[in-house]
């Protein structure tokens, strides 16, 4: 039988550990339920993997559906990135978001890259999200809430200088809409 003081100390430590797992500021990693009594392994969410360029072989409708399904669980917004691999500004932006300054911030989004080819692919998706590619050009971005509602569309030329935007400017845009 434990002495009274030692029992009390053990109880306090257990209670403190248990409180740690339920802290709102320290959520469990995406898609995993924390076991009762366990401590959250990481203090910040794991950055979401980024798409590898604008892959014409991908099905963006499925990608968007998958991203929204994940967003419902982890409450992260969804970022739709319309572009093409021939477009220098799109490829430069892709490099910029992988910089140390931007990577942690864009990692808080579920990113879906949508290949528009020579403006002959997936234009229906652009229309669905109220994106006027003819005037906006590419890259063009759409931010969706976790429920799929449009938060912003870069029809206004927000990314009209994507190639010359600094990582800090790109980070500021993302922070505004995360």
């Amino acid at each position: 039988m434990l002495p009274k003081k030692q029992f009390l100390l053990t109880f306090v430590l257990f209670a403190a550990t248990a409180c740690g797992t339920t802290s709102a500021a320290d959520p469990a990693p995406t898609g995993t339920a924390a076991a009762p009594g366990s401590v959250a392994a990481t203090p910040t969410p794991t950055p979401e993997a980024l798409p590898d360029g604008y892959d014409p072989a991908r099905n963006p409708k499925s990608d968007i559906a998958a991203a929204l399904a994940k967003a419902k669980v982890d409450k992260r917004p969804v970022l739709l990135d319309f572009g093409a691999d021939w477009c220098p500004d799109c490829v430069v932006l892709d490099e910029t978001v992988r910089t140390r300054r931007v990577r942690p911030i864009i990692g808080r989004f579920h990113v879906v890259a949508i290949d528009v080819g020579r403006f002959d692919r997936h234009l229906d998706l652009a229309r669905k999200y109220h994106l006027n590619l003819r005037t906006s050009g590419i890259p063009a971005l759409v931010v969706l809430t976790r429920t799929g509602k449009i938060r912003t569309v870069t029809n206004d030329g927000s990314f009209a200088n994507a190639r010359s935007m600094t990582p800090a400017q790109v980070a500021a845009f993302l922070k505004r809409w995360q």
Partner: protein, 156 residues
């Protein structure tokens, strides 16, 4: 009377020749943020590419097909049908390098604004197709590329 009739016909023939050379055929269209004006004479086809928005440029005619490492849209001017090219297309503006340091790529583009490309030709028929391709980009945005836009002209 025969020599007199001949003398009368000579100026007419000359006038006809001058007339056909002095009246170039022109055509114009605007697509993807660029107004293209095509002028066809007996010796050359000129295509003036004029971006309709400030700060936009088109790529060099020297850019390889498919761009550099897949980047960029080459500007192209070619003819078929009643015209045959007799030389290479050249531009009236010097190319400038567009450096993309993060990608380790330099693209050749024309300065922002209009550029005219000239293609020497020889007439071989009564109608011809003028075929142009281009893509306009600014410092951060690319508009839809135009690929093999055909303009058919009657050469008279």
């Amino acid at each position: 009377m025969r020599p007199a009739r001949l003398l009368w016909a000579i100026p007419l023939l000359l006038t006809g020749c001058v007339h056909s050379q002095a009246r170039p055929v022109t055509a114009r269209f605007t697509e993807s943020g660029v107004e293209v004006t095509i002028t066809v004479t007996a010796e050359a086809v000129r295509a003036a590419y004029r971006p309709t928005r400030a700060g936009f440029h088109v790529y060099s005619v020297d850019l390889p097909e498919g761009g550099v490492r897949g980047l960029g849209i080459p500007t192209r001017l070619s003819v078929r049908g009643g015209l045959t090219a007799t030389g290479r297309a050249t531009a009236d503006k010097p190319v400038r390098p567009l450096d993309l340091p993060s990608l380790g790529v330099t693209l050749r583009v024309y300065p922002d604004g209009p550029v005219t490309v000239l293609l020497p030709v020889r007439r071989t028929g009564r109608t011809a197709d003028i075929v142009v391709s281009y893509g306009a980009c600014s410092s951060g945005t690319c508009l839809a590329p135009v690929t093999d836009h055909v303009t058919t002209v009657a050469l008279g």
